[in-house]
Amino acid sequence: MARREKLSGNEAVSIAMKQINPDVVAAYPITPSTEVPQYFSTYAANGEVDTEFVPVESEHSAMSACIGAQAAGGRAMTATSAQGLALMWEMLYIASAYRLPVTLAAVNRALSGPINIHNDHSDTMGARDSGWIQIYSEDCQEAYDNFIQAVKIGEHPDVMLPVMDCYDGFITSHKVENIEIMEDEEVKAFVGKYNPPYHLMNKEKPMSMGPLSLPFYYFEQKRQQAEAMKTSIKAILEVAAEFEKVTGRKYGLFEEYRMDDAEVAIVILNSTAGTAKDVVDMLRDNGIKAGLIKIRVYRPFPVEQIAQALSKCKAVAVLDKADSLNGAGGPVFTDVTSAMFGRVDGVKVINYIYGLGGRDVTTDNIKEVYDNLQEIAKTGKVKEVYNYLGVREV
């Protein structure tokens, strides 16, 4: 039976790690993810896990060690934020190309520069095309639940891809919530044993991994990787259904909040969804048909499902907690509009960049977005597609 506990996001994720009892955790400290390896090293020091904890000398080595461990047939995990994820960049691509289901707690923090320790999504957004499955978590419960599901998704035989569980630095990583924790045995049974068909420790069937692969083979290898990402949607939903059976908590590709007859909607990720849902409720109380979509699975991007979910709206705002600095809009905006193109006609879609470097986002800010959407829905006119929310402009 599940038990309720007051836990921070980081503590909840470290407990998930403990319950999974992986073979290797290799990590390097960086705010705000540091607590995860800190808690975990205590479990290791007290013999509560069998895991070999490797306190590496950099995040690049953390991901490299996870690759080595996973290639050797083990289950490997790490946690990081911002610069740490950036330093792992090279290895993120290699982990996914080698089809190694490493699990990463990505505690979202703004990328330098200037240096800033607070939350936005510029770190994981930069890694969105590294071949990792990306799952975004609104609160501590989701961070915990998604971390456990991540292991099973990544190791699914049709998938074999690394997975990052992204949750907001400080807002989710350090806030304490009363959440439901599975029993250790339930987690162990849920994730099962990792038995990859090929690995380096098989003396009878030794293998070479990571070749020089020239034009005659490389393209097919990437094509297979792309296919795994595309078909992982099915595995993600299968794992969610199994998870629901055990816990009663339902997960999909994204959460639709009061979308049934919504005319104006925002698309958003992670903790700000909570603030925005409050605004939706307030608007609904005033008879305004407002809704919200909170993306859970951002990679693979559920293009058809997102387009379908937004097809009945008159006006949609995509909120990005990262700017692409491309003169065109944020990453989620670009993906949502691409998904809608050719699938859905007549919906006006605008973009807001918000909360960079941990700038607080209030219900008033979100209200401002819905006000604009109502105006667009009424007039059919969009003044500006690419907008900023809560920034001082001189």
């Binding site: 073979d23 290797v24 490299s64 690759i67 080595g68 461990a69 083990g74 080698y98 991994m209 070749p211």
Partner: protein
């Protein structure tokens, strides 16, 4: 067990022929000797940094490695292998049935002295039960002979050409082996392919079977970068030892022992003049370059002799 070349030669070839290393390359005998030093019953996981050895030994879909092998990137071979080794420890702790396995990292000097130094230092300090083998050819040979911090002073490379103003690489070679000595690991050694390979074979064996982290720095001449005729590989090695350019020594639990002291230390000219990369040093007016090189070799040799006597 005393060393016997004939016996060693009968051991199974675990780094097989068909790889694409150049004729006259020092890395190939190094890899073959290293893999021969494994007990036949032991499994090995070898990780190579991006390097000549890596691209020549594992060109998809062919591999020269009879054991398990992984390449992930350039600067992280020590971290990659330490992850594999950590997994081995965890599996044993869990009571799983795992074969007796040795963990080996292989990299060139670029991947070791330069870009891989941080990961190497980390893995050595953490004390993983592994062997890190640097095959040192003194430049980035794989990308076309660019200088590394292992390139000897005054050598011409494609990024330190022998110019009219700057005559090759300005700085002396970094002493990596002694840097690793500072990591308090149980076994550190410097060797090279020489005569009957006794020194290199025994050191590979010791490194593999000393519990904890071990480091081998092995000189591996490169005919392309050094510019010598391919059949003269073994002569290059012999001269490197007789001139004390590449002394053979080992450091066991912090105590350094010189394994060979030439009766008559040859002048560096005999080593330099055989290699095209040093040819500009013999041009008229460049005599000071040879003197400079000799002075550095003398200084390094003196330091090793002092450390040798300290035991």
């Amino acid at each position: 067990m005393s060393y016997n070349l004939k016996e060693w030669a009968k051991r199974p070839e675990r780094f097989t022929g068909g790889h694409r290393l150049c004729a006259g390359c020092g890395a190939s005998p190094v890899m073959r000797t290293l893999m021969r030093a494994l007990k036949p019953e032991d499994h090995a996981v070898v990780s190579a940094a991006t390097s000549c050895v890596e691209v020549s030994s594992f060109l998809y879909p062919y591999t020269a490695w009879e054991d398990s092998f992984i390449h992930s990137a350039f600067e992280n071979v020590a971290a990659t292998i330490s992850g594999a080794q950590a997994n081995y420890v965890a599996k044993k702790r869990k009571g799983e049935d795992v074969p007796n396995t040795k963990f080996i990292a292989v990299a060139g000097d670029g991947g070791t002295y330069d870009i891989g130094l941080q990961a190497l230092s980390g893995a050595m300090e953490r004390g993983h039960d592994m062997v890190y083998v640097c095959y040192d050819n003194g430049a980035y040979m794989n990308t076309g002979i660019q200088r590394s911090s292992s390139t000897p002073q005054n050598a011409a490379t494609s990024t330190t050409p022998a110019g009219t103003v700057i005559p090759g690489k300005s700085q002396p070679k970094k002493d990596l082996t002694l840097i690793i000595m500072g990591h308090n690991i149980p076994y550190v050694a410097q060797t090279l392919p020489l005569s009957n390979f006794k020194d290199m074979s025994e050191k590979c064996e010791k490194a593999l079977y000393t519990p904890g982290a071990a480091f081998l720095n092995i000189l591996a001449p490169c005919p392309r970068g050094w510019r010598y005729e391919t059949h003269r590989l073994m002569e290059m090695c012999k001269l490197a030892v007789e001139t004390c350019v590449w002394p053979m020594y080992e450091i066991i639990e912090g105590k350094l022992t010189l394994n060979y002291i030439p009766k008559e230390k040859l002048p560096v000219e005999v080593y330099l003049k055989e290699q095209g990369r040093f040819s500009h040093m013999f041009a008229k007016g460049n005599e000071h370059l040879i003197e400079e090189y000799q002075a550095q070799v003398d200084k390094d040799w003196q330091l090793l002799q002092n450390l040798n006597e300290m035991k």
